[in-house]
C-alpha cells in the first residue's frame, strides 16, 4: 500500500516538472512521429548535452594562443573520459545544426510558419542563426590549422560588406588578424553570451508554441481528439531521447573529433576551406562577385525568411507534409530541377572564360555580379512560370517550390565545395577523388 502511494507521489512531481514544458493534454494527431520526426525535442536535448559537456571541457581548456592547442591535447590524451567529452561535444554540435535545420524545413513544408505562428517562426530563425554562430565560434577554439584558417577565411568575407565591413571584421576579431584577442572574443561568445541568449529565446519559443495550441495539424470539421500528455507524449519523447543519446554515444566512441597540427599563422594549408556549413557560401564566392555572394544573397534569404509568415495566404494548405498533392508533385519536380540547374550553373561558370578578363573595360561587379545574378533569378522565375502552368499551384505551393529550389541549390553548392574542390579550390571530378 505504501509502495503505491510513494510511486504516485514520485510520478506526481515528475508530472509537475513535465507541465512546465507541456500542456496537460495534447491533440492526438500531433503524436504521429512522421509529422514532426521529434526534431524540436531533439534540438532541446542536444542543447542540454552541449551545455553539460561544454561546462566539463571548460575545466581544462585554456583560451590563449599559447595554451589552447596543448590543453585540447591534454583533454584528449591525459584525462579520463576527456576524449569522450570532447567527441560528444563535437558530434553533438554537428547533429544539433542538422536537427535545427531539418526542424526549420519541417516547419516550412508543413506550413507551420503561418498565422498565428509568425513570431514563433522568427524566433526560430534567430535560434538557428545562434546555433550556427555557436558552431562557428567553437570552431576556432582548438587552435589548429583547420580552425585557424577556416576562421581567417570566413571573417575575411566580412570585408566585402560595403561601409561597415572593415569595422565589423575588426570588432569580431578584436584586431586586424586572428590572434589572442580573437580567441578571447570567440571563447566568451561561445561559452557565455550566445548560450545565454539562446536559453532565453528558447523559453520564449516554447511558450509561443504552446500559446498557438501546440504542433500544427490540418483543419478538420470533426472535433479534435485530445489525449493526456503523460504518458502519451512523454513516453514518445523519452524513446526519441534515448535513441538519440545512444546514437551520439556510438558515433563519439567510434570517431574522434578532428585535430590537425597546431595553428601556424604564416602557412595556410592548401586548400583552406571554411567550416562545412559555410562551404556553400565559399562556393558561391567562386562564381559571383563578393558583393553578391556575401551581401545580396544572404541578405535576400534573411529578409525573405522574416517576411515569409506575413505573406497573405488564403488556402488551408497546412498541417500535412508538402501542403497538398499538387504541392508534393511540384516539389518532387523542383528537387530534380534545382539539382540539375545548380550543377549546370557550376559547370558553365567553371568552363566559360572568366568574364573579368574577356570584358576588361566593364567593372567586375557587373560582369561577375549583376549579369549572373539576373541570369539566375531570371531562370528561376521562368521555371516557376512553367511550374505554375504545369502543376496549377496556388500561392503557398508556389512559395514552397521556390524554397525547395533554394534549399537544393545550397545543398549542391555545399557538396561541391566540400567534396569536389581540391588544391587551389580547383574542381575535381567525382571519378577523380
Amino acid at each position: 500500500m505504501t509502495d503505491i502511494s510513494r510511486d504516485t507521489r514520485q510520478n506526481k512531481s515528475w508530472y509537475n516538472l513535465i507541465l512546465h514544458l507541456h500542456p496537460r493534454r495534447v491533440k492526438a494527431d500531433t503524436l504521429r512521429f512522421t509529422l514532426t520526426f521529434g526534431l524540436g525535442g531533439m534540438a532541446v536535448l542536444l542543447v542540454v548535452i552541449q551545455i553539460f559537456t561544454g561546462l566539463l571541457l571548460k575545466f581544462h581548456y585554456v583560451p590563449s594562443p599559447e595554451g589552447a592547442y596543448n590543453s585540447v591535447l591534454n583533454i584528449q590524451n591525459n584525462l579520463l573520459f576527456g576524449k569522450l567529452a570532447h567527441n560528444i561535444h563535437h558530434w553533438s554540435a554537428i547533429i544539433l545544426l542538422w536537427v535545427t535545420f531539418l526542424h526549420m524545413l519541417r516547419v516550412l513544408f508543413t506550413g507551420a510558419f503561418r498565422k498565428p505562428r509568425q513570431a514563433t517562426w522568427i524566433f526560430g530563425i534567430i535560434l538557428l542563426i545562434l546555433v550556427v554562430l555557436s558552431n562557428f565560434t567553437g570552431y576556432l577554439l582548438p587552435w589548429d590549422q583547420l580552425s585557424y584558417w577556416a576562421v581567417t577565411v570566413c571573417t575575411s568575407l566580412l570585408q566585402y560588406i560595403p561601409l561597415i565591413g572593415g569595422a565589423a571584421k575588426e570588432t569580431l576579431l578584436g584586431g586586424q588578424e586572428v590572434g589572442s584577442a580573437t580567441l578571447s572574443n570567440f571563447f566568451n561568445l561561445h561559452t557565455g553570451i550566445i548560450p545565454l541568449i539562446m536559453i532565453i529565446l528558447m523559453g520564449h519559443h516554447f511558450w509561443r508554441i504552446r500559446k498557438a495550441g501546440g504542433v500544427i495539424v490540418p483543419e478538420s470539421a470533426e472535433e479534435v481528439k485530445m489525449v493526456d500528455t503523460q504518458p502519451n507524449l512523454v513516453a514518445r519523447e523519452f524513446v526519441v531521447a534515448l535513441v538519440l543519446i545512444a546514437f551520439l554515444l556510438i558515433i563519439s566512441i567510434l570517431f574522434d573529433a578532428p585535430l590537425r597540427e597546431r595553428a601556424n599563422p604564416s602557412f595556410s594549408p592548401n586548400p583552406a576551406k571554411a567550416p562545412w556549413y559555410f562551404m556553400g557560401l565559399q562556393e558561391l564566392l567562386i562564381h559571383f562577385h563578393p558583393f553578391f555572394a556575401v551581401v545580396v544573397f544572404p541578405l535576400t534569404i534573411i529578409i525573405g525568411s522574416v517576411w515569409l509568415p506575413y505573406i497573405k495566404l488564403t488556402d488551408n494548405n497546412y498541417g500535412i507534409w508538402f501542403l497538398s498533392p499538387a504541392g508534393r508533385r511540384a516539389g518532387k519536380f523542383a528537387v530534380m530541377a534545382g539539382f540539375i540547374f545548380t550543377i549546370v550553373f557550376i559547370l558553365i561558370s567553371e568552363f566559360l572564360p572568366d568574364p573579368e578578363t574577356v570584358l576588361h573595360s566593364i567593372p567586375s561587379i557587373i560582369t561577375t555580379g549583376l549579369i549572373p545574378f539576373i541570369i539566375v533569378v531570371g531562370t528561376i522565375l521562368l521555371f516557376m512560370r512553367y511550374m505554375q502552368r504545369r502543376f496549377n499551384i496556388n500561392r503557398s505551393e508556389y512559395i514552397q517550390t521556390i524554397l525547395i529550389i533554394l534549399v537544393i541549390s545550397y545543398t549542391v553548392l555545399s557538396l561541391t565545395g566540400i567534396l569536389f574542390r581540391g588544391e587551389g579550390m580547383k574542381l575535381i571530378w567525382p571519378w577523380g577523388i
Binding site: L172, G175, S266, A272, T357
Partner: protein, 173 residues
C-alpha cells in the same frame, strides 16, 4: 447592471485607453532602446582598445644591410609576415604575406616569379599586382626606410593599394 457598465466604459474608454496606449507604447520603445544600448555596450567590449603610443623605433624591423640583399630577389620573413623584394633597379619593397582576397598567406613561386595564394589560386607579380583573380587588389605593403645602410620596415602601418606604383619603392642613396 450589465448595460450600465457598458455605458460607463464607453464614456471612459477612448480617452484613457489612448493615453494608456501611448504610455504602453512609450515603455515598449524605451525597452527597445535599452536593449539596443546593452547590445551596443556588449559589441563595443569586443573591439580592441585604443592602441598605446609605443616608441616608434620599436616598430621598425631591421631586415639587414642594403648589401645583404641582391638585386632581383625575394626574401621572405614568415615570423613578421612580409616579403622583402629588391627590384632589378635596386629599389626595396616590403609586401604583406596576406592575400587581399580572403586572408590566406601567399607563397613565392620562384621559377614562375609569382606569388601564389593556395586558397583560391590568386596570383600576384613580383611587385604585388594581381595577375590572376579572384584577388580584388594588389598585396598590401609596408613602408621601407633606409638609414645608415640598414633596411628597416615599418610594421606598424600596413598600406592598402589598388596597384603598384613607383612611389611605394625605396632606394638606397
Amino acid at each position: 447592471m450589465n448595460q450600465k457598465r457598458k455605458i460607463q466604459t464607453e464614456k471612459v474608454t477612448p480617452e484613457i485607453s489612448s493615453r494608456r496606449d501611448f504610455l504602453a507604447r512609450l515603455w515598449r520603445i524605451l525597452g527597445l532602446v535599452a536593449l539596443a544600448e546593452v547590445a551596443f555596450f556588449t559589441v563595443s567590449m569586443l573591439r580592441p582598445g585604443k592602441k598605446e603610443l609605443k616608441d616608434s623605433s620599436l616598430l621598425f624591423k631591421v631586415a639587414g644591410s642594403v648589401d645583404d640583399f641582391q638585386k632581383n630577389t625575394v626574401t621572405p620573413d614568415r615570423v613578421n609576415k612580409y616579403f622583402l623584394i629588391r627590384a632589378e633597379d635596386g629599389g626595396f619593397l616590403a609586401l604583406s604575406i596576406i592575400c587581399s582576397h580572403l586572408g590566406c598567406s601567399v607563397l613565392w613561386d620562384d621559377p614562375k616569379k609569382q606569388f601564389i595564394c593556395p586558397c583560391h589560386s590568386s596570383a600576384f607579380d613580383k611587385m604585388g599586382n594581381v595577375i590572376n583573380s579572384p584577388a580584388p587588389r594588389a598585396l598590401d605593403y609596408y613602408p621601407v626606410i633606409i638609414e645608415e645602410g640598414k633596411v628597416k620596415i615599418d610594421l606598424s602601418q600596413k598600406k592598402k593599394r589598388k596597384k603598384f606604383d613607383k612611389t611605394q619603392v625605396t632606394y638606397a642613396i
